[in-house]
């Protein structure tokens, strides 16, 4: 099996899916000749031509708005938003139009669009090249939201997202775009949406995470196991909407302790949903407060981003506080 990074895995999935299905088109700012500012669409225009891979004017509302119309015409658009921080001009089209299209038309129209966009901090991007907007979208019925953490997941989940008949927001962990490398099957495969992965088995505490921060979690857990003798179960969510409550609950019922980790600000962040669900469905199993180790409730800073992010140190503190409670 070839070793790939996430960029290559995304590129590979796009290529394979486009070969498989003529109705898939790739569009966005700088995705054509340039191949994307992160090079995720490199070579696709050359291979599939300018009709299926093309640059758009600089307008996110236009990109998603047009993608919705293209879907109505029978296509399966895979628009790229250059950074997740810039998705908000298209917010209305995503949550009021794409997400509601099937429901409001009584099932007549679907919206099979997969919006790819790099998200997250840790690349010295400050306010506008660092945000993790997953919670904004997970409050929206009709949408699906997927976040891979490594190349294997990226390829399999992107394929599933593109084949899915509902609109999917596919957030790519840009901090580990190149750093996360793994063996990835050459041929096509899919990973089921809505299924979490138990990335590490353990019995003292359940850590729930997704995307780039999963790597910090795994490092923290390894250290905690080695140095503190803890046994940590790590649930990697993969799909945030709809999410795999079953796997989460199974783990929580085993460990009785929960730490949720994400980069986005804490208040009304995605972790709140997980904590609330657990506090409803597994309250009798809980032996400690449910902790959220997250970005702070501030805009994303530049110089102090290391301090802002839920780094290994903060995760370990969360683990200690929870297990020793």
């Amino acid at each position: 099996m070839p070793r790939m990074n996430i960029i290559q895995a995304v590129n590979d999935a796009l290529r394979i899916e486009m070969e498989r299905d003529e109705s898939i088109v790739v569009m966005g700012e700088d995705v054509g000749k340039f191949g994307g500012v992160f090079r995720a669409t490199q070579g696709l225009q050359e291979k599939f031509g300018e009709k299926r891979v093309f640059d758009t004017p600089l307008a996110e509302a236009g990109i998603i708005g047009a993608a919705i119309g293209m879907a109505q015409s029978g296509l399966r658009p895979v628009p790229e938003i250059q950074f997740a921080d810039f998705i908000f001009p298209a917010f209305d089209h995503i949550i009021n139009e794409a997400a509601k299209m099937r429901y409001r038309s009584g099932g007549q129209f679907a919206c099979p669009i997969t919006i790819r966009t790099p998200y997250g901090g840790g690349i010295r991007g400050g306010h506008y090249h660092s945000q993790s907007p997953e919670a904004y979208f997970c409050h929206t019925p009709g949408l699906k939201l997927v976040i891979p953490s490594d190349p294997y997941e990226a390829k399999g989940l992107l394929a599933s997202s593109i084949r899915d008949d509902d609109p999917v927001l596919f957030l790519e962990p840009k901090r580990v775009y190149r750093a996360a490398r793994a063996e990835v099957p050459e041929e096509e495969y899919t990973l089921e949406l809505g299924k979490a992965d138990v990335a590490n088995e353990g019995s003292d505490v359940t850590v729930i995470a997704y995307g780039a921060v999963l790597h910090d979690v795994l490092k923290a857990v390894e250290a905690a196991e080695d140095e503190d003798g803890m046994s940590c179960e790590v649930v990697n969510l993969r799909t945030l909407l709809p999410y795999d409550a079953e796997t989460v609950l199974e783990s929580v019922k085993k460990t009785g302790r929960v730490v949720i980790v994400h980069e986005a600000p804490r208040t009304c962040g995605y972790g709140a949903e997980l904590a609330a669900m657990i506090a409803e469905k597994a309250i009798l199993y809980l032996e400690a407060p449910i902790l959220r180790v997250t970005g702070f409730d501030t805009p994303f800073p530049y110089t102090l981003e290391e301090e802002y992010l839920p780094n290994e140190r903060r995760i370990r503190k969360g683990l200690r506080d929870t297990v020793s409670f």
Binding site: V25, K51, R52, T56, P57, A59, A61, G62, G65, A66, A67, I68, G69, M70, A71, Q72, S73, G74, L75, P77, P89, D92, H93, N96, E97, K100, M101, R102, Y103, R104, S105, G106, G107, Q108, F109, A110, P141, G142, K144, D164, D165, D166, G194, P242, A245, E246
Partner: protein, 371 residues
């Protein structure tokens, strides 16, 4: 091009050029020839307008009687809507906003289904999910209506781009109001269509008002049509109360689109004779006199006079169509009113192609409570 004499406040509107074929009295404007449209089609134009008018009148009453919750009509704007819908081919796409029942009628949308949608009952094609006037009819290539003003414009551009990509030779007709041109969505939609030469006819129903806000508060430009310059395609002002002029203009724009020559913006200058919707009372913000002046330019009267001049229509036929239509509407209402509401399970369907666990759980909770 003729001089426009029907403007409101905006002095620019007064002097602007506008395309018209029929005078208010139904006679040809000087220099215009009888357009080469066959007689049946001419009669259809009027028929659809009359049916549209009668439906609007009936449904507005139905709302006043409290039998439906809301209604939004198009009295005065029938020519702009029906003339343009008729100018397209049946397999072209129509992308509506909420005031284009006429276009749905042209496509063959049944009055019964329409009424079911108004009642939001179990036979409503959209399953009781949206307010009255927000139907969809995919089989008729009539897209899903939503309330947010302007969002359909980039969708239409994308539809057109999609047709190009798939080498389909159809076009798209998208409707929106004067107010909608102020939205960013108008801009991005028109701009995408220009850049990608999408086969789209942008039909701006300039009915002079956006609820209580008059046209000159929407824009300082000389007209709405001129905005096409910003996107590199043609903009045309047409008398929106002259169904022949609308038809001919949109037909040309559609042919341009079929030929691969890209989009056109058509500004149909018309007037919203009624309230914005049944929730609105325009006496709070506009002169009744203005309304009266515009009633004199009513699109139905104009076309009827024209047909009568040409012996294509008679008062008897008019009465007959009225009677038949009123009856048909009454039957549709009666039948639809008897249908019960959708089952509560419909709350949980169509959120996704497959119902996920959490919706199943919520459905079961609600079902348990209901039993």
């Amino acid at each position: 091009m003729l001089r426009w004499r029907g403007g409101r406040y905006n002095p620019a509107f007064m002097s602007e050029e506008i395309y018209r074929i029929l005078k208010t009295n139904g006679r040809l404007e000087k220099g215009r020839k009888t357009p080469s449209i066959d007689d049946d089609r001419l009669r259809d134009m009027y028929r659809y307008m009359l049916i549209n008018r009668l439906v609007d009148e009936r449904m507005t009453k139905l709302q006043r009687q409290g039998r439906i919750g809301f209604y939004i009509g198009s009295v005065g704007e029938e020519a702009a809507v029906i003339g343009s819908a008729l100018a397209m081919r049946d397999d072209d796409w129509i992308v509506p906003c909420y005031r284009e029942l006429g276009a749905a009628l042209v496509r063959g949308f049944s009055l019964y289904k329409f009424c079911c949608q108004l009642f939001g009952n179990a036979e409503d094609p959209i399953k009781g999910r949206q307010m009255p006037n927000h139907y969809s009819a995919r089989d008729l290539k009539f897209t899903s209506i939503s309330s947010p003003v302007g969002t359909q414009i980039p969708h239409a551009a994308g539809l057109g781009m999609g047709l190009n990509i798939q080498d389909k030779k159809n076009a798209v007709l998208v409707f929106f109001g004067d107010g909608a041109t102020s939205q960013g969505d108008f801009h991005v939609g028109a701009n995408f269509a220009g850049v990608f030469k999408a086969p789209v006819v942008f039909l701006c129903r300039n009915n002079q008002w956006a609820i209580s806000v008059p046209g000159e508060r929407q824009t300082a430009s000389e007209s709405f049509a001129i905005k096409a310059e910003a996107y590199g395609f043609e903009g045309i002002r047409v008398d929106g109360n002259d169904v022949l002029a609308v038809y001919e203009t949109v037909r040309k724009a559609a042919e341009k689109a079929y030929a691969g020559d890209g989009p056109t913006l058509v500004e149909a200058v018309t007037y919203r004779q009624g309230a914005h919707s049944t929730s609105d009372d325009p006496r709070a913000y506009r002169d009744e006199e203005e309304v009266e002046r515009w009633k004199e330019r009513d699109p139905l009267n104009r076309m009827k006079s024209y047909l009568k001049h040409r012996d294509l229509w008679s008062d008897e036929e008019d009465d007959k169509l009225r009677d038949e239509t009123v009856k048909e509407i009454a039957q549709a209402v009666k039948k639809a009113e008897k249908v019960g509401p959708p089952d509560i399970e419909e709350i949980f369907n169509d959120v996704y192609a497959q119902r996920p666990w959490h919706l199943q759980e919520q459905y079961e909770q609600l079902r348990g409570l209901a039993e």
